[in-house]
């Protein structure tokens, strides 16, 4: 009668330990530390780094998709403006 309750307690302790260690390791595996953000801080990560290129892409997008106005741009979607 005593053994099963001890087993249960041990299983619970094991489970808690596994959750703690596994959870921590998983979190550290995906977390980018403050000193590892060099690539994220690179200018190439900035979507607005080329204003002219972005405007041209946007024009092509709304012309082809007939989606003018969807991003706050006026026009009818005819591709003529």
């Amino acid at each position: 009668m005593k053994a099963p309750s001890l087993k249960l307690a041990l299983l619970a302790a094991l489970g808690a330990a596994a959750l703690l260690s596994g959870g921590c390791q998983a979190a550290s595996a995906v977390r980018v530390r403050p000193w590892e953000r060099g690539a994220l801080a690179d200018d190439t990560m900035n979507p607005d780094r080329d204003a002219l290129g972005a405007a041209m892409s946007e024009h092509v997008y709304f012309s082809r998709e007939a989606a003018s106005g969807g991003r706050g741009v006026g026009g009818s979607g005819c591709g003529c403006n």
């Binding site: 053994a3 001890l6 041990l10 299983l11 260690s21 550290s28 403050p34 000193w35 590892e36 801080a41």
Partner: protein, 173 residues
């Protein structure tokens, strides 16, 4: 008896797992001793003599804009307080030495810059953001910590704290 042995093993395994979970380094904060700079395997510069001095340790990177803004301020602070016992050590955490060297060559700091190429020191300290600076008193204990750099505000705070730490008695040898 067999059950007891099994239980002991299971308990041992649980303890080991809990120990693994607890091994991730804690963030260095005011009140803690700052890790040894000489034992951190830093390169890119010669570490100054820091025993019995007030030390400002700054963690920076070439890709971090506030770090760039902080260097002229640290140069001013260094020139104002070096005679009274302040030492500034700026620890660069760039992945590559080229970026580190280019940043130092461009800003020409008057204080010591070293490179934590393996991130051994910065990982041990667990800086919360870039840049972060730590003011360490004459006994080697962290007294103030500055996450981020906020221009004049940070400079004012640093000067006030440095004045306070420099005024404290030097520990007996």
């Amino acid at each position: 008896m067999v059950t007891l042995t099994r239980n002991s093993r299971a308990l041992g395994a649980a303890a080991a797992l809990a120990a693994i979970a607890a091994t991730s380094p804690a963030q260095v904060a005011p009140g803690n001793s700052f890790p040894s700079l000489s034992a951190a395997g830093l390169d890119g510069g010669v570490l100054p003599f820091t025993a019995g001095k007030v030390v400002l340790v700054d963690f920076w990177a070439s890709w971090c804009a506030p770090c760039k803004a902080s260097f002229p301020v640290y140069s001013r602070i260094q020139s104002d307080y070096a005679d009274r016992g302040l030492v500034i050590v700026a620890v660069g955490v760039d992945d590559g030495l080229a970026a580190f060297n280019a940043f130092v060559a461009k800003l020409k700091p008057s204080f010591v810059t070293v490179h934590d190429a393996n991130h051994a020191l910065v990982s041990g300290v667990q800086v919360p953001t870039m840049p972060t600076s730590y003011l360490v008193d004459r006994t080697g204990k962290v007294r103030f910590m500055h996450p981020g750099f906020h221009g004049d505000q940070t400079e004012r705070e640093l000067r006030r704290e440095i004045e306070m730490l420099l005024a404290e008695k030097t520990p007996a040898p």
